[in-house]
């Protein structure tokens, strides 16, 4: 990148199933004000806005247009990004392009989903080609059910391991003041008693539908150093799309195809001299819609060898006090406003690097982090954030 980019402010709403007390625009405005307060900036300091959400879920045409006054973007440049679950990351990526191109100095990325407006499962089912796969895609749950079956078969992992992931997520969520689902689980048995949605995915194996927003303020190197005592640097990022293969949506159920995660990691890790992620990076915030997906992402993101993800779980390596903490915030399993979910991963990583994550701050000192996103038919976005460049 021609010019370096830093995160100088992050803000999020409290996430919940329903937010009747605010309109969609007002909800997003809350996150904007939180980010401005965090950055100690005035909205007039923002040069351009990039909006991100999955527009089908709220059933609004050009949803950004309806919130321009409420986010302070009247008379300002900007545009909206749409896409799959990776939308938020792609918006932050484009924000970096807008700065590294020299076009703007300070860019605000505004992301949200207000799931109480519609039905996310129906929205995801509508991603099926209507002339082709109508009726053959039932929300995201059945896709992740297939992924779970494949993983169990190949790796020897048991349902207990998935339950441990929910316990970890719930502990994080209970420490995170903004998270949505705080169940207060205490044992693996409680998770295993939850009902199946689509076999073998249980209620507690899956993410909720959250209403919430997240905002990240990006600035050029020159401005960032003046603006924030603790800027967090976007060292690098990579977005990789892929076509669905072999009748699977989230990767290849036969396990024989390359995954977008492999491609993204190989590119980003190589550019940054990363050969051993767990040693060279301090923490990860990953986009895990299901417990099983978290375990297999450990492998696809090269946190460990193939079929060994569940062993990391068993060892507690990815717990908040572990050697390589993953999703201290409670992650997607606790909070999932889809358009904002990837931006939350980036914002939470930035807080960890700053040491500002409060009760869910990782035990070890976090100097660098990987934030990921997952979307579409297994698209990947990968961000590498650092305290110093």
């Amino acid at each position: 990148m021609a010019h370096r980019t830093a995160i100088v402010g992050v803000g999020q709403t409290h996430h919940a199933s329903r937010r009747k007390d605010v309109s969609l625009a007002e909800m997003v405005g809350e996150a904007v004000r939180a980010a401005l307060a965090d950055a100690q900036l005035n909205v007039k300091d923002i040069d351009a806005f990039i909006f991100s959400n999955m527009e089908a879920f709220e059933g609004i045409l050009l949803p950004d247009h309806g919130m321009i006054a409420e986010v302070g973007a009247v008379g300002k440049p900007g545009f909206k990004v749409t896409g799959g679950g990776t939308t938020g990351s792609e918006a932050v990526g484009e924000g970096c392009h807008m700065i590294s191109s020299g076009l703007y100095d300070v860019v605000m990325v505004v992301s949200w989903q207000k799931h109480d407006c519609g039905d996310a499962t129906a929205g995801i089912s509508a991603a099926a080609v209507p002339t082709f796969a109508k009726g053959l895609v039932t929300g995201a749950v059945s896709e992740f059910a297939k992924q779970a079956l494949s993983y169990m078969k190949d790796s020897g992992a048991r349902e207990e391991h998935a339950a441990m992931i929910r316990l970890k997520a719930d502990r994080g969520a209970c420490r995170n003041p903004y998270s949505h689902l705080k169940i207060g689980l205490t044992s693996v048995d409680e998770v295993l008693k939850s009902p199946y949605l689509v076999w073998p995915i249980r209620l507690y194996d899956f993410c909720p539908q959250s209403s919430g927003a997240c905002v990240v303020i990006l600035a050029s190197e020159k401005s960032a150093k003046k603006m924030h005592q603790k800027p967090v640097w976007v060292a690098d990022f990579e977005v990789v799309h892929q076509e669905p293969f072999r009748a699977g949506s989230f990767g290849d159920p036969t396990g024989t195809e390359t995954y977008s995660q492999h491609v993204a990691c190989e590119r980003l890790y190589k550019r940054n001299g990363i050969t051993d992620v767990r040693k060279q990076v301090d923490l990860a915030e990953i986009y895990e819609p299901s417990t099983w997906e978290e375990i297999s992402l450990y492998e696809h993101l090269y946190f460990c060898e193939k079929n060994e993800g569940w062993k990391l779980v068993e060892r507690g390596a990815t717990e908040i006090e572990g050697e390589f903490p993953v999703n201290c915030s409670g992650g997607v399993l606790a909070t999932n406003p889809i358009g904002a979910t990837p931006v939350l991963r980036i914002a939470e990583s930035a807080l960890q690097i700053r040491g500002d994550a409060g009760e869910h701050q990782a035990t070890r000192d976090i100097k660098s982090a990987v934030a990921t996103a997952l979307g579409g038919p297994n698209w990947t976005a990968l961000f590498l954030l650092k305290r110093s460049l």
Partner: protein
Amino acid sequence: MADRVAIVAAAQTKYHPNRADVNEAELAYEAIKQVLEETGLTLSDIDSAVTCCQDAWDGRTIASLNLQHVVGAHFGHEFTVAEDGINAAYVAMSQILSGDHELVLVESHMKESQSDKSIIENAGFDAILMRQLGLDYTSAAALQATRYMDKYGITPEQCARVAVRNHSNAKGNPFAQSPMDITVKDVLKSEMVADPIRLLDTKPISDGACALIVTTEERARKLVNKPVWITGASNCYDTHYLGDRELADCDALVKAAKKAYGMAGINDPFTQIDVAEISTEYSYQEPLWMEGLGFCGRGEGGKLVDSGAIAMGGQLPVNPSGGVLPGNPNTVAGMARIAEAVLQLRGDAGARQVEGAKVAIAHGYTGICGQHQAVMIITNV
């Protein structure tokens, strides 16, 4: 700008009222194939794709899923902008300037015939304060037209003249959907759609696609003989609620143009620009947007229409292609303006060529009464 960004290829499909014979991918690929052939590139050479589509129009969550294969996105980058396509070119420009990408494919498509215009557009109005009133883009445009015409004394005849000129210009454009010889009288006698807007003041339902290839200066010189250069670009949002806006003055366009002109070193647009392609979905918009673009003072758009200066052969020909009125789909419209500007600057515009054009402006807008405005300045020198 320190570095220059080049457009090395531009293609459009012929615009058509109903392309039921193709799906979105096949429609887009018609335009994409042409830009690849023009440059001798293959999809494997492309390192980033910027597409422009909207879930509501395509009837599919993550509408760009339709396109992944035809833009070569497998294990590559694809980025979807949900505004008018002109903004996709702007994003491509930022990707080139950032140094992260070298060859960017820009695509926009739309099949308006595929759904019900009023239902889709109505979903773009604030759900609490406006949507229940049953407004669509045309009835909102009529509110803007009345306000603008009343405030500045713009006449229905002046608007009709816009429709006549654009439909006539379209006769020289092989991609145009409905080129026509019509008179001011024909327009004024055509069916009233939403007072004061008549049928011939509006564009028909249209299907089509547009594609561009955007790259670095160095690469452009190797690829083609006649690259053109983006020298300025910007966009701007206005507020949403119609009652909060002075609809007769397009403040967002004024701001977007000012920024783009600043980048391109333009201080007198009317004399420094040789050809303009402006998104005019309703005839009243052309004088209004011309005011916003600074071609004339506020309220003087009608006089400029009357003057003949914007006709073919005039000082600043506006929409030699016929523009949007003879039929361009939403979302494609602004990107098509870039494609037309590219042809003009290369001298490849055939019967609609403006001789010796060196500086062109492309304009696109998105949303209700032009809530989001975007401009791009392109040159061949």
